[in-house]
């Protein structure tokens, strides 16, 4: 059976008689990718679930706002990224009010039963976490999701040139961090 294109999926999502079916296809197609994208920003297992759920619910309720000027999946990534950034900012604000409640990433990973990485994976996560937020997201999208700069530009609303520079700086910083440790 011929796979439904994202353009066809968009049409299904706009029609109330096919919206539910289209949404199920959308979830099957993009849930895992978006999950890991959010997880790399949020890091926490439970918080990631909340953000991903909120993302898809937002997508379902606001699909009529998607004009189709970009690809459907870059729009999904954009929503997921914004949800993750907002969530993290709100959480950090709460944590900033109480230093005792801010364990740091290293301790967080130690306590995380869903982290089973080796030492180099731990160092890599710490290195990435040291980056400024936008640079971190650029790095994750390029390094892990292997997203082309042109698509990343639609997700982050940033020029291709700026994204390339951001990624190159991020990669060099991480390299230096890993070699220093």
């Amino acid at each position: 059976m011929k796979e439904i294109t994202d353009e066809q999926l968009h049409v299904m999502l706009l029609d109330s008689s096919t919206k539910e079916k289209g949404f199920r296809i959308l979830m099957d197609r993009y849930q895992e990718k978006l999950y890991w994208h959010v997880r790399r920003i949020i890091l926490d297992f439970d918080d990631t679930d909340d953000v991903v759920q909120n993302t898809f619910i937002k997508v379902f309720r606001n699909i009529h706002n998607f004009e189709g000027k970009s690809k459907l999946y870059t729009w999904l990534y954009r929503i997921a990224t914004n949800e993750a950034i907002t969530f993290k900012a709100q959480k950090q604000k709460k944590m900033a009010d109480s230093i005792d409640n801010n364990p740091g990433l290293s301790n967080t990973l130690n306590a995380d039963s869903y982290f089973e990485g080796d030492e180099i994976q731990r160092k890599l996560l710490l290195a990435i976490e040291e980056l400024p937020e936008k640079q971190r997201i650029v790095f994750n999208l390029r390094y892990y999701d292997e997203m082309p700069y042109e698509e990343m530009s639609a997700v982050l609303d940033t020029s291709v040139g700026a994204l390339k520079a951001s990624y190159h700086h991020a990669a060099k910083k991480i390299e230096a961090f890993l070699k220093d440790e």
Binding site: M27, Y35, R142, E146, A171, E175
Partner: protein, 160 residues
């Protein structure tokens, strides 16, 4: 593959040690079926009407009122066809359906269910299939038939 190569080459140029770690994931894991369970929660929040998904889409085909008689009709077809060949086989000419014990008939149907042409059945009975059943391929239907044969009441065949 071309994009992958480009990204790898780009990274090797700016950060060769990091490039050597490229194939490593972050080290996070997920419990089995976690994403499916998440889907179900989302569908519940959005009040989706369709039944909840589990790890694999499961459809209890015996819930469809038309299915059991349809299966019985199919088995009658198999048995009738077999009897036709039996009747033309000199060594088994005297064998008739009425002479077969229930146990023999059960055994015969079980032995021949694999030869049943599901595709032909679906093609010739489109009105018996609803939207959900249409999503099942011949292999799925075959599997259900095979698994359900023990539940089929031989009286259903005789009463048709």
């Amino acid at each position: 593959m071309k994009r992958k190569d480009e990204i790898k080459a780009e990274l090797e140029e700016i950060a060769p040690f990091l490039a050597s770690l490229k194939d490593k994931k972050e080290g996070f894991k997920l419990p089995n079926h976690h994403l499916v369970q998440m889907q179900n929660q989302i569908f519940d929040q959005l009040n989706f009407q369709a039944p909840n998904l589990t790890a694999r889409k499961k459809i209890n085909i015996w819930d469809y009122a038309w299915f059991k008689p349809a299966v019985a009709a199919v088995f009658v077809g198999i048995v009738a066809t077999s009897i036709f060949f039996w009747n033309n086989n000199s060594s088994m000419k005297t064998t008739k359906m009425a002479d077969m014990s229930n146990a023999d008939m059960d055994s015969y149907i079980a032995d021949n269910i694999d030869d049943f042409d599901v595709d032909l059945f679906i093609k010739n009975n489109p009105d018996l299939l609803d939207e959900t059943f249409k999503d099942l391929n011949a292999e799925d239907i075959h599997q259900y038939l095979h698994e359900s044969i023990d539940d089929l009441d031989i009286d259903d065949i005789e009463n048709l």
